[in-house]
């Protein structure tokens, strides 16, 4: 009995460990200060993509939106350089990334979002250039 109890807890631990090592899909959006030059903006992007790769993650897509006006001022700035990156990484990676981003003074604001399977589907469709995706979905259904 005691042995069985031990084995179940061990199995539970294994499942827990596997869950930690699972790769998840995330999306990171960063707003940089508008004063950055073109090269600095590129360098900042490369820094974070390199950091993802260093930590065993995979960058699936990245999309610099460029200069965009903010809906309200952040740090007294009315515009910002937007950058969106999709990546898959381990679940403990975002905490490490957060430290790196907070150390960077050129970042006004950032947000990492976990993507569910519908979100991944949506982003893939958007990348392939289908804008009004609802129509095609409807035809399939």
């Amino acid at each position: 009995m005691g042995f069985r109890l031990k084995s179940t807890t061990f199995a539970a631990q294994l499942i827990f460990l596997n869950k930690i090592r699972e790769m998840n899909n995330y999306e990171l959006m960063v707003i940089f200060t508008p004063v950055l030059s073109e090269e600095d903006f590129k360098a900042a992007q490369n820094k974070f993509t390199a950091f993802v790769k260093e930590n065993g993650g995979k960058v699936t897509h990245d999309n610099p939106w460029g200069l965009k006006s903010l809906a309200y001022p952040i740090q007294k700035k009315t515009t910002g350089l937007y950058w969106v990156m999709e990546y898959s990484a381990l679940s403990d990676f975002n905490e490490k990334l957060k430290i790196q981003i907070l150390r960077d003074e050129t970042v006004l604001r950032f947000m990492a979002t976990k993507l569910d399977k519908y979100a991944v589907e949506y982003n893939a469709r958007k990348k392939s250039g289908v804008q009004h995706y609802s129509g095609t979905e409807k035809a399939e259904a």
Binding site: D116, Y118, S134, E137, K138
Partner: protein, 88 residues
């Protein structure tokens, strides 16, 4: 001879019914509400940038929750304002 309980109107009453509201996410099979698409999310806001209730938009509870999350994310990332006047 006419019945006593029969009611007669001078002008014909309007029998036209309002079109039934529907959840646009269910109808068009939209499974994910994107926080990056500010123009789309504006449909669920009033002039002051406040969220519209389900009573008016007709969203199902499941998607109203997702819309709410998306709007709040968009506000954080300065895609949508928290407060404004004359939004539209």
């Amino acid at each position: 001879m006419a019945k006593t309980n029969e009611i007669k109107y001078l002008t014909a009453i309007k029998t036209q019914q309002r079109a039934k509201k529907f959840c646009r996410f269910k109808k068009y099979h939209i499974r994910y509400v994107d926080y990056k698409d500010g123009e789309f999310l504006k449909k669920f806001l009033n002039e002051q940038g406040k969220m519209l209730p389900r009573r008016i938009t007709g969203n199902s509870l499941k998607y109203q929750r997702k819309v709410a999350d998306a709007i709040k994310k968009a506000r954080q990332m300065a895609i949508l304002p928290y407060v404004t006047d004359l939004f539209k």
